[in-house]
Point group: C2
Chain length 196, copies 2
DNA sequence: CGAATCGTTCAAAAGCGCGTGAAACTATCT
DNA sequence: AGATAGTTTCACGCGCTTTTGAACGATTCG
């Protein structure tokens, strides 16, 4: 086998991973930007995109070469993407290498991330706001009834507004997420729903 | 309510800005967290929140004291918030100090930011994806027709999917934004739309 | 007009997240 | 088992962002 490898190298075999096409570079950079905007790491977007556009499973080495990343970066990025459930590791019998493939259903992917990230954060915020209301009443009780009556009144009112808004956000997210399976079917309904 | 400035100064130079209440601290920290998640700076969220909960215009000095920030930080943060249109500077005749007040309509604020930030980014992404499609055809033409035929086919298909999704996102944002004025009225409709 | 107060700017410093690369670890092949 | 290829982990350092604080500018009042 060892000679076999030599033979391949002699035969001018590419180092296994071709470089990125221009089109791949554009898309992966763009999605990398979006990921940063959304508070993720740029390389998560880039790696996912390359896998997505490849259409077939790739090895870590191929990703390393195509994206010019260190082995460590590739491994950690793939680990994170795996934890988010947007990249799967394929184990192939009789091959030392692991292969990775992207979740192909993009909308499913987005909705999963929304559920696990945005929703958790919003729920947490609602709880915090309600804690703040409690703290407010405690404060009013502790100080004289006069002390900051006006200030307290404004706060009560506005914190309630914030809670309302957060709950609206939660409701919207839930609607998006639960519609994730219907996929395209509700898209036209959404469009029709708009007023012109 | 209008207890004299004199009284305060006699009482041992209360440095004009009381400290934050516990309730204010909780809410401003929470919103600061959310802002970071959304890709903004923590202090933007904290400053806006303190102004919002104050219900009345505050001076830069008061913000500095309540949030323990340097003068520079307050100035720059207020500048940014102003550019986003979520904080107004009030100029009072016969007072050296500037006062600042928060946009009180939270939903209006959110939708404005979405329009200027998220939407711009999505539009830009759509353009980039379309550029990528062009680059893809150029590449196919340049290389032989055989070369990476399969790879090209997958890319075409998937980049189209991305464009579709991005356009869906844009449509949804537009719907949200244009409904911003109706405010509460469409909220129930949204809730009813959900399946249980 | 000059003193006093407040706001803004900007260069330097601090803080922090990210990628790196080598070492440890695991799995496959001879 | 030993050798080799592949992967993961982690301490370190680099670069970017944020914060600071002092100098400068602006506005009001005596």
């Amino acid at each position: 086998m060892g000679e076999g490898i030599q033979a391949r190298e002699q035969a001018g075999e590419q180092p296994s991973g071709e470089s990125l096409w221009e089109s791949e570079r554009i898309v992966s950079d763009t999605i990398g930007r979006l990921m940063v905007l959304w508070g993720f790491k740029r390389n998560m977007g880039r790696v996912w995109t390359v896998l997505y556009l490849a259409g077939e499973p790739l090895t870590a080495k191929q990703l390393r070469e195509r994206l010019q990343l260190s082995s460590g970066a590739v491994s950690m990025t793939l680990g994170e993407l795996g934890r988010w459930g947007v990249v799967r590791k394929l184990w192939v019998q009789g091959d030392r290498r692991d292969f990775y493939e992207a979740e192909a259903n993009v909308w499913k992917m987005v909705s999963r991330v929304m559920r696990e990230r945005e929703r958790a954060e919003i729920v947490q915020a609602i709880e915090a706001f309600e804690d703040a209301l409690l703290a407010l009443e405690r404060q009013v009780a502790a100080r004289g009834r006069e002390a900051g009556a006006a200030r307290a009144r404004v706060q009560r009112e506005r914190i309630h507004k914030l809670i309302e808004l957060a709950k609206l956000g939660r409701t919207m997210l839930d609607a998006l997420i639960s519609n994730a399976r219907l996929d395209a079917s509700w898209l036209p309904r959404f469009k029709l729903g708009r007023s012109r």
